[in-house]
Each structure stands twice: as structure tokens, then as C-alpha cells.
Amino acid sequence: MGWGLVIAIAGAVVAVILAGIGSSVGIGIAGQASDGLLSEDPESFGNILILTVLPGTQGIYGFVAAFFVIIQLGLLAGTVPQITMAQGTQIFLACLPVAFGGLVSGIFQGKVSAAGVAVAAKQPSESMKAVILSALVETYAVLGLLITILLLMGIKL
């Protein structure tokens, strides 16, 4: 087993961890704000559920990217693939867009969602607009994931 494989797996791990952190922090922030609203007005749960859940997608993107890496490497087949140093580094780098994109956008999306809770509190009928604003942040996590997948598919093993 060469160092190439280690580096490739490290890429998958980084993608899951960083995107996961982004989502946890994001949901953490949005969740607290939603709790605050719910403590006064439990009826509004339906309105703020989507807002609170939105920052969670980054973690899923990290997971998807890592899964692609695993498939690419054929780890599930039970045989240890032979990966060169160069290939390993390529896979590692390909994982970075979703990792950092997820980390940063997750946190910021959490903040936007938390702010959106105010909208849901004041005007429950307008809460979908807050969801849309929050989803704008999502775009960049999606772009990160897209590039990661394209790069992974492009890498010839």
C-alpha cells in the first residue's frame, strides 16, 4: 500500500469533516434562533423547519463527495487499489472545493436562516422568501460539489 492511497482517503475525510462542521455550526445557529421563536410560538414550527434544515445540506454534499471517492478508488470491491502519489494528490485536491465550500457556506447559511427566523416570526406568510434567501447561499456549496464530482470523474486511475 502506497502513500498515494493515504492521500486520496485523506481527501474524502476532509470533505466529510469540513462540510460536516459547516453544517453543524450552521444548523446550530439557525436551530437556536428557531428554538427562541418556538418557545414563544410553537405553532410556527412548520414555517421555520425548512429554514433550520437548509444548512444541513452541506454535510450531505461532503458525504456524497466522499462516496464518489470511495467508488472511484474501488474500496468497496475488497481489493486494495494501486494509487500513485500523483493520483492521490489529484483526488485530494478535487475534494477541497466541496470541503471548504461546505464549511464556509454552511456557517453563513446558518446565519442567514437565523435572521430569516425573524421574518417567520413577524410575517409567517412571507417565510418562504427567507427560505429563498437562505437557499442562495446553498448555491455555492452546490457549485463546490459539482466541481468536486467533475474533477473526480476526470481523474484517470
Binding site: I29, G36, L37, D41, S44, A114, A118, A121, K122
Partner: protein, 344 residues
């Protein structure tokens, strides 16, 4: 109104829960429509009935004497302060500064009545960061150490002076006002809360301008004005003193670019015509309502909490105006003229 921009240096994510809760509570503030109905109601009893359906419901419920509305409104404020304290993640938060003026009110009462402390009861307000009992304890034992060090020192030396020379009671008020505002500004700077610093600065400025006009009306000399002007505002004390000899137009023109220029211009013009500062006082209050309204755009931080407390203070002030008006059967327009803007 020109918007007052201030920069919030950091997002305080720990306030997420509190802000979420505040946003929900803000929807339950009394609105203009309800105030119209309150003004139109027959007497205080009917007002009490109207308030039963609001967030004041449990206070004004069946049987509660709406005649003692001052106590009920204070109870609502007490509840508000307690609630903010409960949800505030920071025990040394800026919100503590807002309740301090009640402690100073109680302190003034107790110091003025230090010869006969038993009479003080009916004048004390059951609010404040420390509460009337704690303040009474401090005054009777002359031990102000439960207060922050700065305050304790300043008040101790004030009391020593008081024992020595027994100055007129106005002196107590003036000195305590100085101590309070110096402390507020210093604490706000210490907390590095720009929202609060600006708020206190504007408050000091508008109080000083009003004081200037009142001193002018009383035809007092400059040295008196010098002793009553508060320090720490945007406008320096020297500049304020220089206005004493000038006509009031000068005041308007030289403060033309202040954020509260509108207050000064309209307030003073009305004052020149009617010799009444009522409009100035109301515009100043409205200015602060608009100022704290900016906290609407802040999702992370202590500002929405501050704003909620001040809004609630304004709301009870408005309710009190309507109640007193009803109790003395004042004409509707007199009451309406005096109502402060309602935060929306």
C-alpha cells in the same frame, strides 16, 4: 429621519436563541389600533378590559384594580427585565445598564428622605438592577460595596459630602445624574457596544439641549448651567455653554448636521412660538424609538434585547399617559398629542 449608521463589529452568535424569542415577542407589542381603542374607551375600567386581551392580560385580568395602573405597569416592566435577564446568555450584558436608572431613582428618594426613611416606601419603584430593598440596605448601612467599584466610590463620596454640608436636594439629583451617565458611557465603552455608546451619547446631548433651554427660561447664570450639564455627549460642554448667550436660531443652525437635527429644528421652532418644550420632548423620545428600531436589522447580538426593553418602556409610558388622561378625564386630543411613536 436620517439613518444613523453604526458598525457592529462582530456577530454574536450566542444571542441566536434570545433574538429568535424576542422576534416572536415583538409581534405581541401593542399596536396603534389598540391605542386608538384605548383612547376612545370610557374610563380606566374599560381600558383594563381591553388590555385583558393583550400580553398584559394576566395583569389586568378580572378583579385587578385598573385604578392602580402604575403598579401594574411597573409589574409588566419588572417581568420584561426578568425575562431579558433569563434569556440573555451574557450575565454581564449591556442590558444591565438599562435598569440602573431605577436604582438611581430609589437612591435619590432614600437620600432625600434619609432623616425619615419610613416615609420613602410609597415613592420607591420596585424595579432596577439591584431593587429598592438592596438600595435601602446600602443607604442605611452607608455601605455601597455591592455596587460596581466606580459607582460605590462616587456615591460614597457624595454621601460624605451630604453629611458634611447638607446641600439643597437639587444637588443630590444633579450629582447622581452625573454619576449615572458617566458610568453608563464608561460601561458601554468598556463593553465596546457601539449601539449603546451612540444611544447614550445622543441621550446626553438631547438632555443637555433641553436643560440649556430650561435654564435659559429660568434666567440662571452660566455657572449654574455648567454644573448641571452632563458630560460625555457628542456636543462638548463648552459648546453647550456658548449657546447660552446666543439666540436659539444659532442652536438650530449649528446642529444642522446632527442626526437629531429634525428634533432640534421642529422642537425649538415650536418652543419659540408656544413657549412649551412638550413637542421637543416628544420628538426626542420618537427619535430614540427610531434609533432603537435599527435593531430590527440585527440578527446576532445584544441589540435586539436592548431595543425590546426600551420599546417596552416606551409602551408602558404611552399606556400611562392614556391612563392618567382617562383618570383625569382630559380631552382626547391632549392625550393623543402626548403619545410617543409606537415601534412597529
Amino acid at each position: 429621519m436620517r439613518t444613523i449608521s453604526y458598525h457592529n463589529q462582530k456577530d454574536d452568535v450566542k444571542y441566536s436563541f434570545a433574538v429568535g424569542k424576542i422576534r416572536a415577542m415583538e409581534t405581541r407589542l401593542l399596536d396603534g389600533l389598540l391605542f386608538k381603542r384605548l383612547i376612545d374607551s370610557k374610563d380606566t375600567r374599560e381600558m383594563g378590559r381591553l388590555l385583558v386581551e393583550t400580553s398584559y392580560g394576566d395583569l389586568f385580568k378580572e378583579g385587578a384594580a385598573s385604578a392602580d395602573f402604575e403598579a401594574l405597569l411597573n409589574a409588566e416592566l419588572k417581568r420584561t427585565y426578568q425575562l431579558i435577564k433569563d434569556i440573555d446568555p451574557d450575565p454581564a450584558s449591556a442590558c444591565n445598564l438599562l435598569a440602573l436608572h431605577y436604582d438611581f431613582h430609589n437612591l435619590k428618594v432614600l437620600l432625600k428622605l434619609r432623616q425619615s426613611p419610613s416615609e420613602a416606601d410609597s415613592f420607591l419603584i420596585n424595579l432596577g438592577l439591584y431593587g429598592p430593598e438592596a438600595i435601602r440596605q446600602m443607604v442605611t448601612s452607608s455601605d455601597y460595596s455591592p455596587l460596581p467599584l466606580n459607582l460605590a466610590k462616587a456615591i460614597s463620596s457624595l454621601v460624605t459630602e451630604l453629611e458634611k454640608s447638607s446641600p439643597p436636594s437639587q444637588w443630590i439629583d444633579i450629582q447622581l445624574d452625573h454619576i449615572l451617565y458617566t458610568y453608563l458611557i464608561r460601561q458601554a465603552e468598556h463593553l465596546n457596544n457601539k449601539f449603546l455608546i451612540t444611544l447614550f451619547r445622543f441621550q446626553i446631548d438631547l438632555i443637555n439641549i433641553r436643560t440649556l433651554l430650561r435654564v435659559k427660561q429660568m434666567e440662571k447664570e452660566a455657572s449654574f448651567l455648567q454644573s448641571v450639564l452632563l458630560e460625555g455627549g457628542e456636543i462638548s460642554k463648552e459648546k453647550m455653554l456658548s449657546f447660552l448667550e446666543e439666540p436659539n436660531d444659532k442652536l438650530i443652525s449649528s446642529l444642522n448636521f446632527a442626526p437629531y437635527a429634525q428634533v432640534i429644528k421642529e422642537g425649538i421652532n415650536y418652543y419659540e412660538k408656544e413657549k412649551s418644550l412638550a413637542l421637543f420632548e416628544r420628538l426626542a423620545d420618537n427619535f430614540f424609538i427610531q434609533y432603537i428600531g435599527q435593531a430590527k436589522y440585527i440578527a446576532f447580538g445584544v441589540e435586539p434585547l436592548i431595543s425590546y426593553i426600551l420599546t417596552k418602556e416606551n409602551e408602558t409610558k404611552n399606556l400611562r399617559i392614556v391612563f392618567v388622561g382617562k383618570q383625569n378625564s382630559l380631552p382626547k386630543n391632549i392625550v393623543e398629542e402626548r403619545l410617543r411613536e409606537i415601534y412597529a
